[in-house]
Symmetry: C2
Subunit: 142 residues, 2 copies
């Protein structure tokens, strides 16, 4: 295995600006890049580390619409750690392997993420309550 393990960790927050300021205190990055992710109906602030090609990121995620999956998460569970995104080398092969092992998948086939890379979600029910996003590594050159 010669790929990093964690792509990013997503934290669901309600008050985006207030949360940004608090996480900036720890992460030492005053105004991280902010992206709209239309298909999830969320806004994301991405804190990056300073080494290792960026390294694993911390993402603050807040819904932009009431029917966003993150809005539903906030309603039922409140703010907190929302998901972890793990890198895999061959996402199609990994999904097939997980399915064969009886692990429930949210996405049986990968979709294209915000950065043009293949991603897929695994169901938290079979992963100790953890919503896991898989991301193919390396990312394609766009």
């Amino acid at each position: 295995m010669d790929i990093p393990l964690i792509s990013h960790v997503g934290i669901a927050v309600k008050d985006f600006e207030k949360s940004l300021k608090k996480y900036a205190l720890i992460n030492g990055e005053d105004r991280p890049p902010i992206h709209d992710v239309a298909d999830q109906k969320v806004k994301v602030a991405i804190f990056k580390g300073g080494c290792c090609g960026g390294g694993a990121r911390v993402e603050l995620v807040t819904p932009t619409e009431d029917d966003s999956p993150v809005a539903k998460f906030l309603e039922s569970k409140g703010e907190g750690l929302h998901h972890i995104c793990l890198y895999v080398e061959d996402i199609d092969a990994k999904l097939a392997e997980l399915k064969k092992a009886g692990v429930r998948l949210i996405d049986e086939t990968p979709r294209i993420g915000a950065e043009g890379n293949k991603i897929a979600f695994v169901h938290p029910k079979d992963m100790n309550g953890v919503l896991i996003e898989l991301e193919e590594f390396p990312k394609p050159t766009l």
Copy 2:
């Protein structure tokens, strides 16, 4: 900032062996190193990535005693993402800065972690429900 952002993410699990097998499926590491952390009364399996000096790790954490903080977490919240550990350059200065900003701290002064490095926990109440561990980077040479 020239340090990585995430040291590790901790996942609280009940059935350690069963969980290990599931995470091994994704992470491609059959039998990661397992450590006892006496002061937290937990057992930890550490999955490491293959690049960037190890990169951010995924840790499966299970209590070894009924009065472990992780046993209490499992009782009240069930299995799931438990904490995220972020690197900081000067942990004493960072704790002082957070305290000054009104952020509640679990550890007002750092303690020594399992690897000989300085660590401290920040209270989840002020960090959007996320239990944050701070870890000084780089680790000392033991």
